[in-house]
């Protein structure tokens, strides 16, 4: 029941990110992302205090909240989608706790969301949520970082479902002009300890197709966040966004 992300071809996996309701046409953007052959889409629930996000995603969260975004409104929007590209929700833990874990997971399931990424929930704190997601068939994606030692990385990978979210660097979300050494190294280490069927995706700091090509020598794909969010914030047209995502696939 907990399916991992799988490759449709020989190309690396590409998972674009968008903050829910950050622009009025956010659902159209998601359609376009699916059309652009995204392998999955990460949708953020905006939180007032996003500890691991840089200025770009912080701003998108602020916009979304000003647009009236709530957990409910975003999940309702996602429920209305008709695409076969899996959706992963990214959210800070408080938004889950506030609704109640079981109710939250129910809502997620009824919105046809595939999985959850909760960046402020390290291995030691996942149990309560994990019990609920497992029994509901929701994939809980865990994160590893350059600072994570091998043994711990293996334990995290073992508990991760959907894919393994590998932070490319020690830092917050945001664009970087070049890929740090730590990203390659961490990707390599993550790939080594991850179970064979669990794709390893690198996120945080992957902003350009060249960077994606370089890193996917060591892993299975990338999550592209701030680079896309900046374009959406700057008013890029929907098909420009689609083209940008496609450029990662070529």
């Amino acid at each position: 029941m907990l399916e991992n992300l799988t490759k449709k071809d020989l190309k690396p996996l590409v998972v674009p990110y968008i903050t829910g309701q950050m622009r009025d046409d956010w659902l159209d953007i998601i359609y376009q992302m699916a059309n652009a052959k995204a392998d999955a889409i990460e949708v953020g629930l905006p939180f007032s205090d996003p500890m691991i996000d840089g200025p770009t995603i912080q701003e998108s969260s602020k916009k979304a909240i000003e647009n009236g975004a709530t957990t409910d409104s975003i999940l309702d929007g996602l429920a209305s989608l008709d695409i076969d590209c899996p959706i992963y929700i990214m959210t800070y833990y408080n938004l889950i706790v506030r609704v109640g874990i079981d109710r939250f997971v129910e809502r997620v399931v009824s919105s046809k969301v595939k999985g959850l990424i909760v960046p402020d929930l390290p291995l030691e704190e996942i149990d309560e949520l994990n019990t609920a997601t497992r029994s509901a068939g929701v994939s809980q994606v865990l994160l590893v970082a350059p600072s994570t030692p091998d043994l711990r990385m293996a334990s995290i990978a073992k508990r991760s479902a959907g894919f393994l979210y590998t932070m490319g660097l020690m830092g917050v979300t945001g664009e970087r002009s070049s890929l740090p050494q730590s990203a390659l190294e961490t990707a390599r280490r993550a790939k080594k300890v991850a179970p064979g069927d669990l794709p390893v995706l690198v996120g945080i700091g992957v902003s350009l197709p060249e960077q994606a090509r370089e890193i996917t020598k060591y892993c299975d794909g990338v999550v592209v966040g701030s680079a896309i969010v900046r374009r959406i914030l700057n008013g890029s047209k929907i098909d420009e966004i689609g083209e940008f995502i496609q450029s990662f696939k070529s």
């Binding site: 205090d49 706790v97 390290p122």
Partner: protein
């Protein structure tokens, strides 16, 4: 007050709700703290600095004039006399020493009122570390004196423009900064909050406040403990330190929050800044902005151990409004010659109210921790008085 359990919890509160890149640092910190806190040499150095540099022990002062007026015997534990002007120095000396033993060369810190920032900058100067202090842009403005002080002490002050531009956003920004520099940087957290092991570490470093107060007041009262022990609660560090000295007596323990930042009184359980605790949040889970005249209590969360002490009813938590606080601020200044920090004036405000309503019965012995001095606040209060905002 005991050690948290192996998951860093006091009852159901606490924990370590942080991104993975910080986990290693938190685990290292816990291991090192456990090691050094039981090392007599480390403890000796810590006590020595607090004594010879920090001005400890601070005295307990009997307030004759106010006691007469209120009909209760009021005593102050004088953290305003500690070096840098508040209890914050107790914690930072401990953490800075720890950081040094751990081989870190930089400190980062968040600050609200600026007292923790000043204390961190001070400890950094003393121990040869670099300090960067994150401070909400709103607080930078209202606590200008402390900004100058930090800069003179050689620290870099970074105004935080995100969110409500106050303490909670300074914490977020400090955490973000820490993620990037976790290798050579210690995050010197300013209160009993944040992810495990901070609530525990900070309480232990503030324990000195409560231990001193305990033996001082016991002697003053001729072999008794006070009926009430009161402290203000922002993150909760001066209160935690204070209560640690009295939790096993039959003193009634009272924590006083700012009514505009009263997580324990008006909040609900949630997770923010790495901890599970009471917080001020809306129905969907967005953290609310606190709003208080005292920058140091302008915080929508509270340390997890206080949530635990509230639930198990060992401590009772009350609130004081801005105007009650200003009135207490002025009363203590003009009738005892002690200008309190606005934060500390919250505790006093509650005592005044409760004495007048008879809730604290006449003749009771009441100990209040005066967590800091009000020099940082006088310009702001003066302005409010001049503008006619307050009487």
């Amino acid at each position: 007050m005991d050690e948290p359990d192996s998951t860093g919890r006091f009852g159901t509160f606490g924990g370590r709700f942080v991104p993975e890149p910080l986990m290693q640092a938190l685990m290292d910190l816990e291991v090192n703290f456990r090691k050094f806190w039981s090392d007599p040499e480390f403890k000796g150095e810590y006590y020595d600095i607090l004594k010879n540099f920090g001005g400890r022990p601070t005295p307990v002062t009997f307030l004759k004039n106010m006691s007469n007026d209120l009909g209760v015997n009021l005593y102050l534990k004088r953290e305003d006399l500690a070096h840098t002007g508040s209890h914050k120095i107790n914690n930072v000396i401990g953490q800075a020493l720890l950081a040094k033993r751990m081989g870190k060369s930089n400190l980062i810190a968040e600050t609200g009122a600026g007292q923790h920032g000043v204390a961190t900058a001070t400890a950094a100067a003393l121990l040869g570390l670099k300090a960067t202090v994150y401070m909400g842009a709103v607080d930078v403005k209202r606590q200008g004196l402390n900004v100058f002080r930090m800069e003179l002490l050689g620290a870099k002050v970074v105004p935080v423009e995100s969110g409500s531009k106050t303490l909670k956003d300074a914490v977020n920004e400090a955490m973000r900064a820490w993620v990037k520099e976790v290798d050579d940087t210690h995050y010197c957290l300013g209160s009993v909050m944040g992810p495990h092991p901070y609530p525990w570490i900070v309480r232990e470093f503030q324990r000195i406040l409560g231990s001193e107060a305990r033996s001082q007041i016991y002697e003053i009262l001729g072999g008794k403990y006070p009926n009430y022990v009161v402290a203000c609660v922002g993150g909760g560090s001066n209160a935690a330190g204070t209560f640690s000295g009295f939790v096993d007596t039959d003193a009634e323990l009272v924590g006083v929050e700012a009514s505009g930042g009263a997580a324990l009184t008006y909040g609900t359980v949630g997770v923010v800044h790495g901890m599970k605790s009471y917080i001020l949040q809306d129905e969907v889970g967005q953290i609310l902005e606190a709003s208080s005249i005292s920058a140091g209590l302008d915080y929508p969360g509270v340390g997890p151990e206080h949530s635990f002490l509230k639930e198990n009813k060992r401590v009772r938590y009350e609130t004081a409004t801005d105007s009650e606080v200003l009135s207490a601020f002025k009363i203590l200044s003009s009738s005892e010659g002690i200008i309190p920090a606005l934060e500390s004036a919250h505790g006093l405000a509650w005592i005044i109210k409760a004495s007048r309503t008879g809730e604290i019965s006449q003749g009771s012995n009441v100990l209040l921790t005066l967590s800091g001095r009000g020099d940082k606040d006088v310009a702001e209060v003066k302005e409010m008085v001049d503008r006619g905002t307050v009487i």
